[in-house]
Symmetry: C2
Subunit: 341 residues, 2 copies
Amino acid sequence: MRDVAAKAGVTPTVVSRVLHNKATSIRVSEATAQRVRDAAKELEYRVNVFARNFRERQTNTIGVLHGVGFDRPILGRGSRYFGALMDGIIEGAFRHGYAVTLCPRLMSDTPEDAMSDGRFDGLIWYSTVPSDENVAMIRACSAPLVLIHPQPDDLVGCFPIVSCDNAGGVALALEHLTGLGHRRIAFARQGDQEFSESNLRRDAFESWMRTHGLLIDDADMLVVDPEDGVEAYLAAPPRHTAILAHNDELAAAFVRRAPAFGRRIPEDLSVVGFDSTSFCEEVRPTLTSVSQPLEAIGTRASELLVARIVGEALPTPGEMLSCGLDLRETTAKAAQTLSVR
Amino acid sequence: MRDVAAKAGVTPTVVSRVLHNKATSIRVSEATAQRVRDAAKELEYRVNVFARNFRERQTNTIGVLHGVGFDRPILGRGSRYFGALMDGIIEGAFRHGYAVTLCPRLMSDTPEDAMSDGRFDGLIWYSTVPSDENVAMIRACSAPLVLIHPQPDDLVGCFPIVSCDNAGGVALALEHLTGLGHRRIAFARQGDQEFSESNLRRDAFESWMRTHGLLIDDADMLVVDPEDGVEAYLAAPPRHTAILAHNDELAAAFVRRAPAFGRRIPEDLSVVGFDSTSFCEEVRPTLTSVSQPLEAIGTRASELLVARIVGEALPTPGEMLSCGLDLRETTAKAAQTLSVR
DNA sequence: ATGAAAGCGCTAACAA
DNA sequence: TTGTTAGCGCTTTCAT
């Protein structure tokens, strides 16, 4: 820039005004402006956006964090969960001219640094299982922050939170199954988390079943790992005609292993997953699943974040987007032998 | 930082040395250092990474560009092509402590700016179809740059290029098909590009078929759009027993539409796709396809880029990674009626 | 062992 | 209309 100024016989200030000032009045004579433009062109001058951002104390970039203690989310394999979310985040960010950055580990040496290191105008925190450590980090974050996924109660109201309506999704699945005549329905989840979306789904399941007078005992709440646990369940005498799993992977484990235990899907056992990632299409039979509006969630998160960044001191609403139910091939009418107890 | 210095009764220089200097000798007395650390802790001081990067003239960030004139690649729907590539890029970048940024449009007002705006230590250019405009931009780029996908000849040798061995992939597919007895094989592609990976595949197809004495006439080189074009081909009398498509989407179009025209897949017509994205699993029957090592390509691109960034003035090798062939359900023995002509 | 000074490239407030 | 000055937060000579 200095070179351009020298060549045009002006000061850097003028160059800045001519080349970058978007104000209506440039306050530079046309002749001078032209000289500057010519010089810039000749020297192939390019503004250093990084320096500009530094000076303006804004980076036009939002960071996507996924919490510590988890592997980096995978885009091209397995569930498309994170891919869909990212698409939404990117869509919303690009719409407002923000770039999106994915960070290694959590970037700098300590997570706290990462969240307030000046590289981002704002952050989207994506984590399904907020550990104490993560919650502490979230609390300590000084930059604008939007959370995706339901979060522990003590975070609600402090930050905008975007999530799907898990209870509504569970209800959709159960209405579908009971409509097919199922009465003996299990809920399957993996491991026990202190807090997570699984828990919300489990609670919603219990509550819905109870409300509808479908007897529940503890044995209906399965906690199984996708390998041995699922096989052990299938090896035992049938106790349910339908299973709602807390996510697609676990549902798929049932679908894939059932035939080996003489249980036909869906004739003997209906299975419903949760998330309806396109992974459901890769399972045979294809997996009926509760769908989350993942892209919409991502987009909304970006938009709320941008709103914060540009200073709208909005309230911090928890936004809940509705779920749907994608009917595929793993549900059918209940087998009569088990449907009445 | 100034505040910390004041509180500890030293200058910012000392603070910087105590908190951030990784040199073996800090050259600060332990007593002073401790005072600084205490002050920093009390004030909850966090280094501003952005400022540091500015000063050091390096951003620890690489940008991913996808060229102008195309829509932003999608991660969560359709083919997983870009998702897999991104996974590889991220993997390679994170391994060396670099963040990865996705940019809106091509970021700044003009593409040229984008590529030299100081925000990135280096760039990965991902584009399947380099238009003249894109080639010009690539040439003008002043930052370290690595290209993914085969590129026009005049770019070879100027930049590191990572791609798959398209000719090898075509050979794998054709060996498989001829091994099944197919002799009348078509190559299907979409539209005509001045330059693109499709062309390499087409050329490889022609050359392989000719070398192996399998008569070729122009009618074997289909140029069809995935809707009307495919239907028109299927509506006409059968001319081939197998089709190799330039990508999975087009292959899927044949598979999906064939039944409506009385052509069973694979009994009447074998179909092979290209890329073997997990999308192949969503087609019925599942799609046999040539696989690219997408993640490996992405990772390698990141690594070459990092090598450039840290200043290894390496030669600019074109790296070609081998393809594989994922056998699924869309290929079978050739129907006799057509196999001999 | 510590401090003073300079400067990365840019922009904005103010002065002329 | 143009120039001067100052400073974003940090690190790095170089001097003390």
